[in-house]
């Protein structure tokens, strides 16, 4: 009997593994729009975002067996992506402690309202002072540690717990960075809206 002839059990195992792998790949690919949405706002350019997503999927497909079926695949993919993004050396940055003190939460509204002729404008009208470009540019100017959390939670719609797991930081840190990140974003938006 030839040594290479697999037993029936082995053949079955190989077939099952191939099927699991295909299923994993399909599930991962179904999430690619959501993965790209986060990547695009974490990376500086569209090209960088595309590379990041491609490298993420290449790594995910290579190490698919490390994924525990039934757990959060979207968070698992984003964990790979944020690690790759950090590996790319984007951490040559200010740390959170060195960022300037930000303004309060009403700052943006107050700045926008002050540029409007009406006495007491509707909040919809105030919001119309902001452009899509201003949002994109302002997000890019939020320091990385804050932006990671802001993009995951407010754009990727991840929970605090998921963001904490993805970035490997405590939930409390997610919340404080999110709050400060939003304020920094609003400060950037205020500057852009008033200049325009």
């Amino acid at each position: 009997m030839s040594e290479s002839a697999p037993t029936a059990a082995e053949t079955r195992r190989i077939a099952e593994e191939a099927r699991d792998r295909v299923r994993f790949e399909e599930e991962a690919l179904q999430l690619s729009d959501q993965v790209y949405r986060v990547a695009r706002r974490l990376a500086g350019s569209r090209e960088e975002a595309e590379d990041l997503v491609q490298d993420t999927y290449a790594r995910a497909f290579r190490s698919w067996q490390q994924y525990q079926p039934g757990t959060n695949l979207r968070a698992w993919l984003l964990r790979i992506l944020t690690n790759l993004n950090i590996d790319r050396g984007r951490r040559v940055q200010r740390t959170p402690e060195q960022t300037p003190l930000e303004e309060g939460d009403y700052y943006l509204y107050n700045r926008l309202e002050s540029t409007m002729p009406d006495e007491n404008p509707d909040e919809e009208r105030v919001l119309e002072r902001l452009s899509q470009n201003a949002v994109v540019e302002s997000l890019a100017e939020v320091p990385h540690d804050f932006r990671d959390v802001l993009v995951l939670v407010d754009i990727g719609e991840f929970s605090y717990a998921e963001a904490a797991q993805i970035l490997d930081i405590p939930v409390g840190t997610v919340m404080s960075r999110l709050h400060r990140g939003r304020r920094i974003l609003k400060q950037q938006l205020a500057d852009k809206a008033v200049v325009n």
Partner: protein, 75 residues
Amino acid sequence: MGCGCDDCEMMMQPYLDGVLSEEEIREAQEHLERCPGCDKRFRFEEKLRHFVRVAADEPMPEALKVRLAGLRSGD
């Protein structure tokens, strides 16, 4: 500037995030009912969050989708 309601300003993010206690929620709501300035700023913040999410969204290029599919083990 604003209505000078510093406490309410501090409560805005946790209020909209749904992480306040029942007691704190009630306090915030009582204040909002009395203070149209804060109420308007809270509504603005909610709409701003939605606007940011929509404005930041950029569809994935089709070519990338094809490249990702090509990374599968069967291909």
